[in-house]
């Protein structure tokens, strides 16, 4: 009944790898940016906020194209990375970068809401008791914003599982290297006679996303109890 070809299994594994990679790489940066937006009083905060939210409002294909211009052979970062023999375009790294960039606004948004919900009196109390910045971060800020960070990571992971436009432009459709589930489904929808295969992958995608949401709910409940 449920027939998944080896190429499909590769696509599923790649999707999981890319989503995990993108979430893990983006979370520290996302937390840092959310911290700056929530607590600091920088003059250019509105500009930073706009820049962070840009991938959210731009069509993913546009994001992918801009990343291609940046990381391509003739691009600014592309040429620098070529010196240290790192390639982004048409590689797994490219798929991870595409997912990370597209999901970044969602991550920052969720974490920022969590950080802004922390009672500043607790933070001030910590300062008066002599706790340094790092100490405050680890003992008060992180634990209190844990649920928000988890929510942000979940959204980022789920968004990465479904990322198509930026991925196909920056990372291309390479079976076994960058062909994630959405790309595989797209290839099937373009091929006559492949509707059953497309449907199978769609079901896998739904089950995966559902699984992520359930896991996240369970983790959130555990954090709340603590």
């Amino acid at each position: 009944m449920f027939d998944l070809s080896p190429q499909d299994m590769q696509a599923i594994w790649l999707s999981i790898k890319v989503a995990c990679g993108a979430t893990l790489i983006a979370t520290p940066f996302g937390f840092a940016v959310a911290y700056v937006l929530a607590f600091s009083r920088l003059p250019g905060k509105a500009l930073l906020e706009g820049l962070v939210n840009l991938p959210l409002v731009l069509p993913p294909v546009v994001v992918g194209y801009l990343l291609l211009l940046l990381f391509g052979r003739a691009g600014f970062l592309g040429r620098m990375l070529a010196f240290v023999d790192i390639r982004i375009v048409f590689t797994l790294a490219g798929a991870v970068v595409a997912s990370a960039v597209v999901g970044f606004p969602l991550l920052v948004r969720a974490i920022r809401i969590g950080l802004e919900g922390i009672d500043t009196h607790s933070l001030q109390a910590a300062r008066t008791l002599g706790a340094g910045w790092w100490d405050t971060l680890l003992s008060i800020t992180l634990p209190l914003s844990g649920r928000a960070v988890l929510a942000g990571m979940t959204m980022m992971f789920a968004r990465s599982l479904g990322e198509f436009g930026a991925t196909i432009i920056l990372a291309g459709n390479i079976p076994g290297v960058t062909q994630t589930i959405p790309l595989a489904i797209y290839e099937y929808t373009n091929t006559p006679g492949s509707d059953t295969m497309a449907m199978n992958l769609c079901l896998v995608s739904i089950v995966l996303s559902f699984g992520v949401l359930l896991l996240s709910e369970a983790a959130t409940r555990t954090l709340r109890r603590n």
Partner: protein, 252 residues
């Protein structure tokens, strides 16, 4: 006040239906991506002989287009880069068998950066990334796969995951042009349009089926005069001259 708002809304909604009625004289053409430039000129030439005619084009991979037609997309005329997809449409009962005629022929080449040392299919395993159209839906990819299988290099390249799948032959050309891949299998006619990429070698004829562009009129299309006229124009001398200009071999 409220009554006026409702009337205005109904008028606006009705106005959306007008374009559908004015649809009558349009010719829906689904054609292989490699014919884009040549057909553009042919349509312009046809418009001079039949002023007021409107040809709506839909270019893409022949396999993907065939699937769209079977799923009900409006198409009066279908031009494929592979006889397989015309046969597929006839099998699905979507075309007029009598209208099945060949428009032109083409050749497969390997295009890449200037200064590349690749001279034949045997040199391919030494490259890092090669772009081909997805074989299951893009004829150029199918011909490329055929040629690579015949030369004995396909399995090696597929296992090393060096093949980048493009949506249609023009996307494969773009990858080669941008230099993001070491080379791409495209048609000779596409390579002529490339800005940076050059033809590195011509794929030997014996290794793949001849690239044929068959045409097919759907039943709904054949019933209309404009479509018949355009179909005849495609088989005429002006169209053949344009095809030749772009590097195709007209079937006349």
């Amino acid at each position: 006040m409220k009554c006026r708002g409702v009337i205005l809304f109904i008028l606006l909604a009705a106005a959306q239906l007008v374009p559908m009625v004015a649809d009558a004289g349009e010719i829906h053409l689904s054609a292989a991506a490699s014919l884009k430039n040549a057909l553009g000129d042919i349509i312009a030439g046809f418009a001079k002989t039949q002023p007021g005619s409107v040809v709506l084009t839909n270019f893409g991979a022949s396999g993907a287009l065939a699937k769209q037609v079977v799923q009900g997309a409006p198409a009066d005329l279908f031009i494929s880069a592979d006889a397989k997809w015309v046969d597929f449409l006839l099998q699905e009962g979507k075309g007029l068998a009598q209208s099945n005629r060949i428009l032109a022929y083409n050749k497969l080449v390997f295009a890449g950066k200037q200064g590349s040392t690749v001279t034949s299919l045997a040199d391919l395993p030494g490259l890092q990334r090669i772009a081909i159209g997805t074989p299951a839906s893009v004829p150029a990819g199918k011909y490329a796969e055929q040629a690579m299988q015949a030369a004995g290099v396909y399995q090696e390249l597929a296992k090393a995951k060096k093949l980048v799948m493009a949506q249609d032959v023009r996307q494969a050309l773009l990858y080669a042009d941008r230099g993001e891949v070491d080379g791409a299998f495209v048609y000779a006619t596409d390579a002529l349009l490339a800005e940076q990429a050059k033809i590195l070698f011509v794929v030997p004829d014996t290794l793949y089926d001849r690239v044929t562009y068959p045409m097919l009129m759907t039943e709904s299309g054949a019933a209309r005069q404009e479509v018949q006229q355009f179909f005849r124009y495609l088989g005429g001398t002006e169209a053949a001259a344009i095809l030749q200009k772009y590097g195709f071999e007209p079937a006349r």
